[in-house]
Every structure is written in structure tokens, then in C-alpha cells.
């Protein structure tokens, strides 16, 4: 199999470096996106369709990052885009919001098990910050308990002291505990009785660079009870997992009920929208928080979200994606084993994390991912991957074929492994 070249990607990147900080900043860029080595990765896409994107050099990729989650039905899904364009004909960003906002809120309240109301914004970080502010408004308390290694966006309170631009005041109210460690959590609550406004966590632990971890049996039920007993708002950050585990919310998937839940990525199949859902008891508090944005009530993403949610429900999206993820990863593990590589798979299969576990440096894993990317399978080496509903059996087969060749290439360089 020929490996890809990225001449035009580099040309655009060199232009970008002159006028954009770091060329491409953030998670889609070569530094935070862990393009290792950078020469193996495309920088810019030309177009996308279904499960694929094509870079500016014309190389096709089966895309297992799905724009880091938003692509859930397939890029350019005809139904979703038609709904959005139909709305555009009527109006998008207007002084008075469109009633389609109400229709989407009703649909979400019907769909998401815990939801009594919905507040819309744009990015995941908009609603994680709102969740925290709402909890503070409701309780009159300041502190928040977070899980070590968790990610809730880039607002100053989500970052750490010692990071550029962050001051002590930004993070002084954060208390960190380990995932699945109920005793530590209980101790932290005891030590700060009456001071904790909110416990925020993802439905399961999906850090970068590490195996993902599901909740221990009974963990969430104990946490739920502790929060209820202590008057702590339990906020679930479902930005990444949302609608890939359960259309009714990932709290529902794990058998508990959150007080607040944050959605974003898969909500509108790539149209820009996020949502905070909550219980009745917090409706007054969220209304009281000063919070809004120029584009938050634009109508096209609302239309797209209605189409996306309806289709996800009709197609049994989460179950299908989990089955696809299982089929894909089972095959990858088998192929890896043929070459003596131990490919560890963790997390829920619709957004599985994987890592070659023969070394503790990820060096072998980075080499293998690079070989896959150069042959048209876009994986990342540090983050969980994402499944979408446009993937076909042929796509999975082709992925397995590429993975095999990539393992072969790595094995050649490291005959001692396995």
C-alpha cells in the first residue's frame, strides 16, 4: 500500500504560521493533537462525507476522530443538513429567536431522562461553566469537587495553577479526588461540610494518554446518595459521551439521575450547539445566572439537533455504534496479537480508547498510529476514538487491513517486541 504525502497541507500550514498563533492552535493542531511524527499527519481537510474526510492533497481518511465527537451520523448527513438549510431560508441569527428552539427543548426534555428544562449555548465549555455557576447560585457555596485527570473545557477554573494565564484565584475552589475512589470523595466532602456547591464528573473516566475506566459497580449510586444527603449539586459532563452511550443521557446508562447534565458534541452532528439540562429544583437558579452569547439562540443548529436526535433514536444509534466499536476493536486486538503487540482497549466501544501496552512510553503506539494515518485511517495516539453511524462493514474491513500492514511495519523496526 502506498503511503500518503502531504505537500499542500504543509504549504497551507506554512502560510498559517505567519498569521495564526501556532499555525493551528488547540486540539485539531499538530502540538495538542499529538501528531507524532508530524510528517505522518494531514493538517487541513478539503471535504468530508459520511465516515470519511479528504485532505487538501486529496488523500482519503476513514475518520475515527469524528471531529473529536460531533460527527455521529456521518459528515454532511442529508437529513440533518436539509433541516438546517430549510431553517436558514427562514432565518438563523435574528433578534427574536425562532420557535424551533422550543421544539428542540421539548424534544430534549422528552428524550433525556433527568431533564425538566434545557439551556442552549455553543461549546461544551459554555455549559460546564454554567453548570458550576448554577450550582453556586443554587447553594450559595463556592467549592467544587472534580476528578483528577478529568476535562471540562478550557475556562480558567478548569485549568491548573502553573499553567500559563492561570492565577491562584481561578482554581482556589477546586478540590480533586481520584476516579472510582468513593472513600476519598466522602472524606473530601466531610472536610468541607457545607462548602461544596457541586461535584462535576464525566459519566466514566476518559482521560487522555491513559486507559479509560468505567464506574465500579455501585459507585454512582453511592455518589448520588452522598450528594443528595449533603445538598451538593451532581453535575454530569456528558459533552463527550452524550448520545453515544444512551440517548436518554449517560447517567441513565449507568443507572442514576444527575441534577445537571452537559451536552455538546454529538447533539447536532457538527452544527454548533451545546445544552445544559437540569431538574426543576435548579430552574430558578439557572435563570438567575447572567449568561448569554451572540450566537447561542441561532436557529440552524436547533433544526439540525432535532433532525440528529430523531435519527439517532430511530436508528438506535448508541447501541449500533457500540456494536460497531466492538467489531472494530476485537479485530484490531486479534491482528495486534499476531505480531506480538498487546493492544489494550478500554472505555465504552462507541468511543473506545486504545494503546499498545508493550511499553509504558506509548512510543510503539505512536509509531503504529502514524503508520495507520499514512495509509488512510485517521486515529489519534493520545485520546479516545469515536465511532459514527456512517461506518460500513467494508470500512471496518479496510481498517483491519491497514492496521495489519501498520503492525507489520512497526514489527519490522522492533523485531524484539512480543
Amino acid at each position: 500500500m502506498e503511503t500518503y504525502k502531504y505537500t499542500k497541507s504543509r504549504e497551507y500550514f506554512n502560510r498559517a504560521l505567519k498569521v495564526i498563533p501556532a499555525g493551528i492552535y488547540g486540539h485539531l493542531g499538530p502540538a495538542e493533537g499529538c501528531f507524532i511524527p508530524v510528517a505522518a499527519f494531514p493538517f487541513f481537510s478539503q471535504k468530508a462525507q459520511g465516515a470519511y474526510f479528504w485532505d487538501v492533497d486529496g488523500n482519503r481518511f476513514i475518520d475515527y476522530m469524528c471531529a473529536y465527537g460531533p460527527n455521529v451520523l456521518g459528515y454532511n448527513d442529508a437529513d440533518v443538513d436539509a433541516a438546517a438549510l430549510k431553517q436558514l431560508e427562514m432565518g438563523n441569527c435574528v433578534t427574536s429567536p425562532s420557535p424551533i428552539m422550543v421544539e428542540l427543548a421539548e424534544l430534549l426534555v422528552d428524550t433525556v431522562a433527568m431533564a425538566d428544562w434545557v439551556f442552549f449555548a455553543k461549546n461544551g465549555g459554555d455549559v460546564t461553566s454554567l453548570a458550576l455557576m448554577t450550582a453556586r447560585a443554587a447553594t450559595g457555596r463556592s467549592k467544587v469537587i472534580l476528578i483528577k485527570g478529568g476535562y471540562h473545557g478550557v475556562a480558567p477554573w478548569t485549568q491548573k495553577l502553573g499553567y500559563p494565564g492561570i492565577t491562584e484565584a481561578d482554581v482556589i475552589n477546586n478540590i480533586y479526588v481520584e476516579w472510582n475512589n468513593y472513600n476519598q470523595l466522602e472524606a473530601a466532602v466531610k472536610e468541607n461540610t457545607g462548602q461544596i456547591a457541586c461535584l462535576m464528573a464525566t459519566p466514566y473516566h476518559h482521560p487522555v494518554f491513559e486507559d479509560n475506566k468505567l464506574p465500579d459497580v455501585g459507585y454512582w449510586q453511592k455518589v448520588r446518595k452522598l450528594c443528595t444527603d449533603q445538598g451538593i449539586v451532581l453535575a454530569i459532563d456528558d459533552v463527550r459521551c452524550g448520545f453515544r452511550l444512551d440517548v436518554a443521557g449517560s447517567d441513565n446508562y449507568f443507572g442514576f439521575k444527575a441534577d445537571l447534565i452537559c451536552f455538546c458534541k454529538a447533539l447536532a452532528n457538527g452544527w454548533n450547539l451545546s445544552a445544559l439540562c437540569g431538574i426543576d429544583a435548579l430552574k430558578e437558579a439557572v435563570s438567575s445566572v447572567m449568561y448569554t452569547g451572540s450566537y447561542w439562540l441561532s436557529a440552524m443548529p436547533f433544526a439540525a439537533a432535532i433532525a440528529t436526535l430523531s435519527k439517532l433514536k430511530k436508528l438506535n444509534g448508541p447501541q449500533v455504534m457500540q456494536a460497531t466499536g466492538k467489531q472494530l476493536t476485537a479485530g484490531l486486538q486479534k491482528i495486534a496479537a499476531n505480531y506480538g503487540f498487546d493492544l489494550a482497549i478500554s472505555g465504552v466501544p462507541s468511543l473506545f480508547y486504545m494503546r499498545i501496552a508493550n511499553d509504558d512510553s506509548l512510543l510503539l503506539h505512536q509509531e503504529w498510529v502514524a503508520e495507520c494515518v499514512k495509509r488512510g485511517i485517521f486515529f489519534t495516539n493520545h485520546h479516545n476514538q469515536f465511532i459514527n453511524l456512517a461506518l460500513t462493514n467494508e470500512d471496518i474491513e479496510f481498517t483491519h487491513q491497514v492496521a495489519d500492514e501498520a503492525f507489520q511495519a512497526v514489527k519490522k523496526r522492533h523485531p524484539e517486541v512480543g
Binding site: 500550514f13 501556532a22 511524527p37 508530524v38
Partner: protein, 252 residues
């Protein structure tokens, strides 16, 4: 905010430490110490001591104490820093008869070191000068990084986030190889790269290294264009980079 203790540790264990490499790289420096056989202990309150040994035309600096001919005492990190800035004198506790070495050869060596660490655009046009400047700058930056991680209040937070293991740092095409070893949040620098390093940071040239370490080049942009390559267990490098950002502030 710069912390005096951290500055003192950097002055001793990152900047003065360069005398060792200076005497290797620069024939003039070597000439100054050619026939000197003598050792100096730097003992500044709160700063881990350092022993500087001159023997057979070579200079070696080690952490800790040992046999010494001269002992220089400083009442505080501030006192030591003022000496480095040329504003105060040490208190010699031992070796009064050898003090002439300090005012003679040693101060010439220190001048030579300052010459290589404080470049001007004209000086940098000289290829050999520029090479020595970059090598010493790289050593200074990474030894300083460890001192910041071990002493500065914010630095300690970032050091604690570096997982145990070794980061191998390479400057290709004539630059040094350095290991940063993290254990339980404590950092140590060694020359050379250990084969079992968990992460690597490779500068493609002396120019890239000097641009990033002296400021002027954006490390994110360099990762993008491939002139700075990072690989392996990236969280180690990420947190190390946060310390590197503090290095520039301390060395300014």
C-alpha cells in the same frame, strides 16, 4: 514572582556549573586553569552545596561536599545572588592563602563564562561562538528547569505533575544530550540520554534550541513545522514545557 532561593540554586547549579563545560569547549578557559589543582566548596545557606574541582586542565562540578581547599560561605541565597551580580563578596571560611586564585584565575573564568552566556548579534555571527553559546544555554536552561521544579512554589506544582521516568532531550547537529529524571515530583538533570527514557524532546539544530530556550521562537509552531519533535509519554513533556516557560523568566 521570582523566588530568591530558586534564583540562588539556579545561579550555582545551572549557571556556575557551566564552568565545567566551558573549560571543555573553550581553549582560552582551559588555558586559564591549565596548571591549577584546587577545589572550592560553595556553601550558601539553604542552597545545596556544590564542589568545584580543577585538576589536570579540567574542571568538574558536583552537587554535595567533599575535600576542598577553599570554602566560600554565603549567609543567605540573597547574599549568594548578590555575589553573582557582582554586588557582594563571599565570606571565605577556609583557604585564605589561596584567595588569589579567586581574584585572579577564577574571576577571569567567570568573565569568560559571562562572555559566552551574554551574546550580542555580532558575536553570534561567529560560528564557534554561537555553538558554545547554544550548548551552554541548553545546559543552563535544563539545569535551571530542575532547580525551578524543585524549589519555586509554582514550579513545584508543575514538577509534581511529571510522571516518574526520564525525558531524553537532544539537540541535533552539534548540541548536547540531556536527561531529565523525575521521581516522586523531584527533578534531576544528567548529561547523556538513558536508553529507557519514557519521552523525548528533540531540537533539530542548535538554532532551534537557542531560539526556543532564549525566547524568540514559539515551541508550538516549532512542533508544527517539525523542527522540535516530541514523542513518547507526552504528559511528561507537556509539564516540563510549563517549567521551561518559567526558565526564561528566571534567566532574564
Amino acid at each position: 514572582m521570582l523566588d530568591d532561593l530558586t534564583r540562588g540554586c539556579i545561579n550555582l547549579h545551572a549557571i556556575l556549573r557551566n564552568l565545567e563545560d566551558l573549560c571543555d569547549l573553550d581553549p582560552d578557559a582551559r588555558g586559564i586553569i591549565m596548571n591549577k589543582n584546587l577545589s572550592i566548596l560553595f556553601a550558601a545557606k539553604s542552597i545545596p552545596p556544590a564542589l568545584l574541582v580543577f585538576a589536570k586542565g579540567k574542571c568538574k562540578m558536583t552537587r554535595g561536599t567533599g575535600h576542598h581547599d577553599i570554602k566560600l560561605f554565603f549567609k543567605s541565597p540573597q547574599h549568594f545572588n548578590r555575589m553573582i551580580d557582582g554586588l557582594a563578596s563571599p565570606i571565605p571560611l577556609k583557604g585564605f592563602t589561596k584567595i588569589s586564585f579567586l581574584t585572579g584565575e577564577f574571576s577571569k573564568l567567570a568573565e569568560r563564562l559571562a562572555y559566552f552566556l551574554k551574546p550580542t548579534p555580532q558575536l553570534l555571527e561567529d560560528e564557534r561562538y554561537s555553538e558554545i553559546n547554544t550548548i551552554l544555554t541548553a545546559y543552563t536552561a535544563f539545569y535551571a528547569l530542575a532547580e525551578i521544579g524543585n524549589n519555586d512554589p509554582i514550579g513545584k506544582l508543575n514538577a509534581a505533575r511529571i510522571a516518574d521516568g526520564t525525558v531524553g532531550i537532544r539537540v541535533l547537529n552539534g548540541g548536547p544530550e540531556i536527561s531529565l529524571i523525575a521521581k516522586g515530583g523531584k527533578l534531576e538533570i544528567k548529561k547523556g540520554i538513558e536508553p529507557e527514557a519514557r519521552a523525548f524532546m528533540t531540537f533539530d539544530s542548535l538554532d532551534t534550541a537557542s531560539g526556543i530556550l532564549n525566547g524568540g521562537l514559539d515551541s508550538y509552531a516549532c512542533i508544527g513545522n517539525g523542527s522540535l519533535e516530541i514523542k513518547g509519554y507526552i504528559p511528561m513533556v507537556d509539564n516540563m514545557n510549563k517549567l521551561l516557560a518559567q526558565v526564561a523568566a528566571y534567566l532574564k
